[in-house]
């Protein structure tokens, strides 16, 4: 299979712990088979600066928690055919959404994160992008085509979904997916 006929796949890391990406990598030797069929065009594990056009499948880890991520997600949606929420943060908000319970302003969240726990020179870093009021799962912001829940989702499940999609079938999640 030549580069040009391979399926163009991207992965994005929003507000999450990167555990889902670790799980993706845990596909181990199956990655070699996968690599024959896909071309990874954008990912935190490769060095590409801008999200490319004409992507076939994008897997997104993490919830949408700030403005920068919101723009990124929208761009990815525009340029992708099949968008997949990868892991509980992307599917439910998960740990990143715990702050939603407090209904505070973004400022209060930052103070809780950076000022309150620190004993010395407490300060909110200026480089932090503006937070959204709530951390939200992806499908509350854009249309999502498939969901792979789990914290993290097992490598087997990720592999199953990708294999099914590459074979042109619809993955069946009943009894396979697992939250938490």
């Amino acid at each position: 299979m030549t580069e040009s006929t391979k399926v163009r796949v991207a992965t994005i890391w929003l507000s999450g712990c990167s555990g889902c990406h670790m799980s993706f990598l845990d596909q181990d030797e199956r990655l070699i088979d996968l690599a024959k069929k896909i071309e990874l065009v954008y990912s935190p594990i490769i060095d590409v600066k801008d999200f490319p056009e004409n992507v076939n499948v994008t897997l997104i880890e993490g919830a949408v928690a700030n403005e920068e991520q919101l723009q990124m997600l929208k761009k990815a949606r525009e340029r992708t055919k099949v968008l997949i929420s990868l892991g509980d943060c992307a599917v439910t908000g998960n740990v990143t959404a715990l702050r939603n319970s407090w209904h505070h302003s973004d400022q209060a969240v930052l103070e809780r994160a950076y000022k309150e726990p620190s004993d010395l020179n407490a300060a909110i870093p200026t480089a932090v992008p503006k937070l959204l009021i709530h951390a939200r799962p992806l499908h509350e912001v854009v249309k999502v085509d498939y969901y792979i829940p789990g914290c993290p989702p097992s490598a087997d499940l990720i592999n199953y979904v990708l294999t099914e999609l590459l074979a042109g079938r619809t993955p069946i999640m009943e009894g396979r997916s697992k939250y938490g």
Partner: protein
């Protein structure tokens, strides 16, 4: 006393069931598991969660299997596409209603709601999830209630009343504001009637009532109510 056996069909399979048996039990005894969250053998059926709804041919209505007794020549469908779709809806509504974050919950991997979502293939929730701020009560020596995880199945209330017999627990308010309370909405430590028997924690399907410091897999016991009731009945 002779037991009257009724003939009926569950998912096309002909079965004989003693008169008075609830559909849920009749199905289970014949190897068909109908999903439920509020029902627990040994406690009076509640009919609240609506997961066990089944179709009975001849009626456009849906019936809760936990509380509908079998009838002669009934033809029961437990797993149509519509029922599957509706069960997914129930789980989604429960997940969206309060703060359900499996990864940081004490009941992770031992939660009936989580298992139900996985089993039914609820891979996302179509409604905006609520992140609630209901009070957590950890004043008791070892029992903790986190109402943000409560699905209002009332198993704890029923076991407290029907098995332990003290009725410490009940619901206050109504609708979406309903909460499990102790006595006159007291802190658990100040409860005048709680015997600290732990049965509420044993039957809680989720991580709303748990025992501090104890692995939840160790606490949970779905058979306790049926066991005690059975032994009592034999007396």
């Amino acid at each position: 006393m002779s037991v009257n056996l009724l003939k009926l069909k569950i998912d096309g399979v002909e079965v004989s069931v003693p008169e008075g048996t609830m559909i849920l039990k009749a199905a289970k005894d014949n190897g068909i598991i109908i999903p439920t969250l509020c029902n627990l053998e040994g406690l009076a059926p509640y009919g609240g969660c609506r997961l066990c709804l089944v179709e009975i041919s001849g009626s456009p209505k849906l019936f809760p299997a936990c509380i509908t007794p079998v009838g002669p020549n009934m033809e029961i469908t437990t797993n149509s596409d519509r029922l599957k779709e509706y069960r997914k809806m129930v789980v989604q509504m429960l997940l969206a209603e309060r703060t359900h974050i499996c990864s940081v919950c004490v009941a992770n991997d031992h939660c009936e709601l989580q298992a139900m979502a996985n089993q039914l293939g609820v891979d996302h929730v179509m409604f905006e999830r609520k992140f609630t701020q209901e009070p957590i009560d950890s004043t008791h020596d070892f029992l903790v209630i986190d109402r943000n995880r409560c699905i209002l199945c009332t198993r704890c209330i029923r076991i407290c009343d029907q098995i332990e017999g003290v009725h410490t627990l009940d619901l206050k308010l109504r609708g979406k504001d309903s909460e499990v309370i102790m006595d006159l909405d007291e802190h658990w430590a100040n409860s005048c009637s709680c015997t600290s028997c732990r049965k509420c924690a044993k039957v809680c399907p989720v991580g709303a009532i748990y025992i501090e410091g104890e692995p939840i897999g160790h606490t949970k016991n779905k058979e306790i109510a049926a066991f005690i009731r059975d032994r009592r009945n034999r007396r």
